[in-house]
C-alpha cells in the first residue's frame, strides 16, 4: 500500500461541511491528528461534534471537504469509501453492544468467521487477550451485555473495536453515560490501552475536564467550526476567545485598561499575556490564579463559602477600589464580586477580610460591546 510508518494513522480533515436540511451543522472543519496521537473534540451540545465523528467514520456523507487517513482518501470529491472498508474503529456513546450475542461473540464479531476447531480456539484466545488488554476478566466472555456494568460495557466495546487493529479509533462521548467515579477509572484504562497500542484516537466529549485530561490535543468546537486546536495547557491558559475560556473552566472576568504589558482593574495592576489589544479590554483570570496571601495587595470581604471537600469556592466582594493606576473611575468598581478557589484547610467565615494576590498572567479579550 506504500504507506510509510510515519503516515500510518495520520488523520487529516479539511474544510468538512455538512448541513441537515436547512441547518448547517459543520461549516468547514479542519483538523490534523498525529499518528498515535489523541485528540479530544470538546464543545457544547449541538456544536456538531458527533456529526464530525460520524463523517470520519463514514456513516454520513459530507457536503464538502476531505477526509484522509494514513495518506488514503476516505471522502472528498469523487472519493467515497464506505464505512465497512474504512478500517476505523468506532465506540458509540453507550457501547452499542449487540444484545443477542455474548461478550465474547461481540468482540469476535468483526474478526474472520472461525470455521473448524483450531480457528475457533484461535478466536477464543484472541478474545481473551483483548479482554485482558482492557483490564477485564476473561470469564466475562460468556456473559451477555445486559449482565455487565456500564463501565465494563464500554471496555468491551473498545475491545471489540480493537479486535480489528484499526488505524484510527473514534470514541463518541464514550464515558458520558458512566457514573462519576467509574468515568475517571475507565477513561484512564482506555487511554492507556490506546496509547500503548499506538492507535490514533479522537474522543468527542462535552466534558471539558475529560478533554483536558485525556488528550494531548484539544479541539474546541463551537457552531460548526473549531475555535481553537492546541495542547490542553495552551487551550486552558491561553484560550483564544471568551466563549472558549468560559467553556473550558470557570473564569473571572473583569473590565480593565491595558497599559503596556499590564492592565489595571479592580484587582489592581495585573500582568498580561502577550496581546495586541490596547485600551479597554476584558480580562480573564482563572479562579485558582487568585491566591489568598496575607501580604497581598488586594483586599476583599467574604460573602459566602462553598466547601466541597478538596477545595472551597469563596465569593468575596472587593474592597480595594481606588488603587493608583486605575485611571477611569468606572473601572474602579467598589463592591465587585469575584470567586476564588482555596484549599480545604481554609474556611473563611462570612465577613472575614482576606488579602489576595494574582499568580500568572491574565488573558485580554476585546471588551464586551
Amino acid at each position: 500500500m506504500g504507506v510509510g510508518p510515519a503516515e500510518r494513522g495520520r488523520l487529516e480533515v479539511r474544510e468538512l461541511a455538512k448541513s441537515f436540511g436547512a441547518q448547517q451543522v459543520l461549516r468547514g472543519v479542519t483538523l490534523s491528528v498525529e499518528p498515535g496521537g489523541t485528540t479530544a473534540i470538546v464543545g457544547p451540545s449541538g456544536s456538531g461534534k458527533t456529526t464530525l465523528l460520524r463523517l470520519i467514520a463514514g456513516f454520513e456523507r459530507a457536503d464538502a471537504g476531505t477526509v484522509v487517513l494514513s495518506g488514503r482518501g476516505l471522502a472528498g470529491g469523487d472519493t467515497w469509501v464506505p464505512a465497512h472498508h474504512r478500517d476505523v474503529g468506532y465506540v458509540a456513546q453507550d457501547g452499542a453492544l449487540f444484545p443477542h450475542l455474548t461478550v465474547g461473540q461481540n468482540i469476535a464479531f468483526g474478526m474472520e468467521r472461525a470455521t473448524g476447531a483450531r480457528a475457533r480456539r484461535a478466536t477464543r484466545t484472541r478474545v481473551g487477550e483483548l479482554l485482558e488488554m482492557v483490564s477485564l476478566d476473561a470469564a466475562l466472555a460468556e456473559r451477555r451485555p445486559h449482565e455487565i456494568s456500564g463501565g465494563q460495557q464500554q471496555r468491551v466495546a473498545l475491545a471489540r473495536a480493537l479486535a480489528r487493529e484499526p488505524e484510527l479509533m473514534l470514541l463518541d462521548e464514550s464515558f458520558s453515560a458512566l457514573d462519576a467515579g467509574l468515568r475517571v477509572a475507565t477513561r484512564r484504562t482506555v487511554g492507556a490501552v490506546l496509547r500503548d497500542a499506538g492507535i490514533t484516537t479522537v474522543l468527542v466529549t462535552h466534558d471539558q475536564a475529560e478533554a483536558l485530561s485525556f488528550a494531548d490535543q484539544v479541539a474546541v468546537m463551537r457552531d460548526g467550526l473549531l475555535a481553537q486546536v492546541d495542547s490542553p495547557l495552551e487551550v486552558y491558559t491561553r484560550p483564544v476567545d471568551r466563549a472558549t475560556a468560559e467553556f473550558l473552566g470557570d473564569a473571572v472576568l473583569l473590565e480593565a485598561w491595558v497599559d503596556g504589558d499590564s492592565a489595571s482593574c479592580s484587582l489592581g495592576s495585573v500582568r498580561l499575556a502577550p496581546t495586541t489589544l490596547r485600551g479597554r479590554v476584558q480580562l480573564m483570570l482563572r479562579p485558582e490564579q487568585i491566591r489568598v496571601d496575607e501580604h497581598g495587595p488586594i483586599r476583599g470581604v467574604v460573602l459566602d463559602t462553598d466547601y466541597f471537600g478538596p477545595e472551597s469556592t469563596v465569593r468575596l466582594e472587593l474592597t480595594s477600589g481606588r488603587e493608583p493606576g486605575c485611571e477611569t473611575s468606572t473601572l474602579a468598581r467598589e463592591g465587585q464580586v469575584i470567586s476564588i478557589r482555596h484549599s480545604s484547610a481554609f474556611i473563611a467565615a462570612r465577613g472575614t477580610e482576606l488579602r489576595l494576590r494574582i499568580e500568572g498572567d491574565a488573558i485580554a479579550f476585546p471588551p464586551k460591546p
Binding site: 456529526t51 467514520a57 454520513e60 464506505p82 465497512h84 478500517d87 456513546q93 452499542a96 449487540f98 443477542h100
Partner: protein, 538 residues
C-alpha cells in the same frame, strides 16, 4: 379484525433496549450516506393503497348504486333496527368490558391477591375461545338465549380481555413515585386511584374499548347463533340471498361509517398528555395493597368471571365431544380441515409479516408525517370487518382479476389486509430494539451493510416478528366471515366446518372443531399475553 393491544402504547414507542435514544447531534438519515432510491417508500405506499381497497370498494359501491337507491336502502326501518341494536350493544358492552378489564387488572397487578399469577393468565384465557364457540357453548347451556342481553353477555365474556391485557401491562409498569407523591399531598387511596392511576390507564382503556367496539361491529357467528341482529349478520343474510346485491353493500357502507366513527372517537379521547416517565433515575416496581376483608369476595368474583367466560363454553364443548362419542371424529373430514387451517395460518402469517416489514422499517428508522399517515391508513383498514373485506375482494377479483378469483391467493391477500396491523405493531417494537446505531457499529467492524442488517437488525427483530406472526396465525384460525366468502371450492377450515355443523344444529358434530380451534389458539393467546407485558409502558 385486529387485536393490536399494544398499538396505543407502541404508537408512542421510542427507541428502547440497550441503546439509548439517538444521542445529541445524530440525525435520522440514510445510513450509508448515499441517496438511496426510495424503494422502501414506494413499496410501503403500494401496500397502504392496497390496504385501503375495501374502503374504496365501499365508497365506489355507494356511488355507483346511485343516491336514490342508496337512500331507500339505507334509510329504512330495518336499518334503524340494526342501528339501534348495534348502538345499544356497544353502549352497554363496552363500558362493562372496561370495568371488568380494569378491575381485573387492578386486582391482579396491584393488590396482594392470592394466586395472582394464575389469575393473570386466567383472565386473558377467554381470548383463546372464539366468540362463536363461546356462543355455541352458551346456547347449549341455555337454549333460549336470544336478544340484546344475551348479546351483551356473550360480548362481555368474550372481549373483556381486550381491555384487561393492556390495562394489566400498564399497571405493572406504573411508577409508584407518582402515587406516593399524591398520597403525600393528602389524597386517599380511592382518590389516588381516580386522579393518578386512571389517567395513566387512559391509553389502555381507550385502545381496549376501541378494540372491543370493532370486534362487536364485525362479529357474525356469535350473534347469529343467538338470533341477535347486527349489521354484520344482516350483511351476511343479504349476501346469502343476493350474493353481491346493493342492499348488502349499503349495509356495509353504514357499517364502515360506524367503524370510522369509533376510530375518530378513540383518537380524540386518547388525549395529548405524555405518559412516560419524566426525569432520570430508575423506576421501582409498583406496590401492592392488601385486600383485607375484600379478599374472599374478590376471589369469588374472579372465579365467577372466569367460570362464565371460559368454564361454561369449555364444559359444553367437552360435553358435546363426550356425547358425540367416536363417531364425530371423522378423520376424512377433520384432518383436511385441520391441515388446511394450519397451512392457511402459516402461509398467511408469513405473508403478513413480510408485507408489514417495509412499513415497520420506515416507521422506526425514518419517522415522519409520511410514514405516520401510511400507518394510519393501515389502522383504518384494520377496523374494517372481515365481511366487508371479503365482499370487496369478491367484487374486485371477479371484475378485475378473474384469474385469481376463488383461489387461495385472494383468501391469503384478505388475511394479510385484515391482520396487517398485528404484525406491524410487533415488528415495530422489535425493530425499535435494533436501533440504527447497532448496524453502524457492525459496519464499523467491517461487515457489509446488507450483512450487518441481516446479522444484527433482522436477528434482533426476529423474536418480535415471530410473535407478530403468531398473533396473525391466531387470528386466521378463528376467522369465519371472510373465509366463508372467499375460500376456494373445496376448502374446509376448522372455523367453516364448525359453522356448517352448528348451523344444522349438529352440535355434537361441531364440537371436535371447536375443541381443535381452542387448542390451536391457546398457545398463541399465551404469547399475546407475554408480548403485551413487554411492550407496555414503552
Amino acid at each position: 379484525m385486529t387485536t393490536d393491544l399494544t398499538a396505543p402504547d407502541a404508537r408512542r414507542a421510542t427507541v428502547v433496549g440497550t441503546a439509548a435514544a439517538p444521542g445529541p447531534g445524530t440525525r435520522s438519515g440514510p445510513a450509508s450516506g448515499r441517496r438511496r432510491p426510495p424503494v422502501l417508500a414506494v413499496i410501503a405506499v403500494l401496500i397502504a393503497l392496497f390496504s385501503l381497497m375495501p374502503l374504496g370498494y365501499v365508497a365506489v359501491m355507494t356511488v355507483t348504486t346511485g343516491w336514490e337507491t342508496a337512500s331507500t336502502l339505507i334509510f329504512r326501518a330495518r336499518v334503524g333496527e340494526l342501528l339501534l341494536n348495534t348502538v345499544l350493544l356497544m353502549l352497554v358492552s363496552v363500558p362493562l368490558c372496561v370495568v371488568l378489564g380494569v378491575g381485573g387488572a387492578w386486582l391482579v397487578e396491584r393488590t396482594r391477591l392470592r394466586g395472582n399469577r394464575f389469575w393473570a393468565l386466567a383472565l386473558a384465557a377467554p381470548l383463546a375461545i372464539p366468540a362463536f364457540v363461546n356462543s355455541y357453548g352458551w346456547v347449549s347451556a341455555v337454549p333460549s338465549l336470544a336478544g340484546l342481553w344475551s348479546g351483551v353477555l356473550i360480548s362481555v365474556l368474550s372481549y373483556f380481555p381486550l381491555v384487561y391485557i393492556p390495562a394489566a401491562a400498564t399497571l405493572s409498569r406504573l411508577d409508584p413515585a407518582l402515587e406516593e407523591s399524591a398520597a403525600s399531598v393528602g389524597l386517599g387511596p380511592w382518590q389516588v386511584f381516580r386522579r393518578v392511576v386512571l389517567p395513566q390507564l387512559r391509553l389502555a382503556m381507550t385502545g381496549g374499548a376501541l378494540l372491543v367496539g370493532l370486534h362487536l361491529l364485525s362479529e357474525y357467528g356469535a350473534f347469529a347463533m343467538i338470533r341477535f341482529d347486527t349489521f354484520t349478520t344482516a350483511i351476511m343474510v343479504q349476501f346469502q340471498s343476493t350474493f353481491n346485491g346493493a342492499a348488502g353493500n349499503m349495509l356495509a357502507s353504514v357499517l364502515v361509517v360506524l367503524c370510522l366513527l369509533l376510530l375518530v372517537a378513540e383518537v380524540r379521547s386518547r388525549g395529548t398528555a405524555r405518559y412516560a416517565r419524566v426525569g432520570s433515575g430508575g423506576q421501582a416496581a409498583p406496590g401492592r395493597m392488601p385486600l383485607g376483608r375484600l379478599h374472599v369476595p374478590a376471589q369469588l368474583g374472579l372465579l365467577l368471571l372466569v367460570g362464565l367466560a371460559v368454564g361454561v363454553p369449555m364444559w359444553f364443548v367437552v360435553r358435546w365431544v363426550v356425547l358425540g362419542g367416536s363417531s364425530i371424529w371423522a378423520p376424512d373430514e377433520l384432518v383436511p380441515a385441520l391441515v388446511q387451517t394450519l397451512l392457511y395460518g402459516l402461509v398467511g402469517a408469513a405473508a403478513t409479516t413480510v408485507v408489514a416489514f417495509p412499513m415497520a422499517f420506515l416507521a422506526v428508522r425514518r419517522p415522519s408525517w409520511f410514514t405516520r399517515s401510511l400507518e394510519l391508513s393501515n389502522y383504518v383498514t384494520s377496523s374494517m370487518p372481515g365481511i366487508v373485506v371479503g365482499l370487496a375482494f369478491v367484487t374486485v377479483s371477479i371484475r378485475l382479476f378473474p384469474s385469481v378469483y376463488q383461489t387461495a391467493v385472494v383468501l391469503v391477500a384478505a388475511y394479510v389486509l385484515l391482520f396487517l396491523p398485528r404484525a406491524l405493531v410487533s415488528l415495530r417494537s422489535g425493530l425499535a430494539q435494533a436501533p440504527r446505531e447497532l448496524e453502524e457499529a457492525a459496519q464499523a467492524l467491517g461487515v457489509r451493510p446488507f450483512l450487518a442488517f441481516v446479522r444484527v437488525t433482522l436477528r434482533l427483530a426476529a423474536p418480535a416478528a415471530a410473535g407478530g406472526a403468531a398473533l396473525v396465525f391466531l387470528a386466521i384460525v378463528n376467522e369465519l366471515t371472510a373465509t366463508l366468502l372467499l375460500s376456494p371450492n373445496g376448502t374446509r377450515t376448522l372455523a367453516t366446518q364448525f359453522w356448517a355443523k352448528s348451523s344444522e344444529i349438529d352440535y355434537a358434530g361441531a364440537a371436535p372443531y371447536a375443541l381443535l380451534m381452542v387448542v390451536l389458539s391457546a398457545p398463541m393467546t399465551y404469547l399475546l399475553f407475554q408480548q403485551s407485558k413487554k411492550a407496555a409502558g414503552q
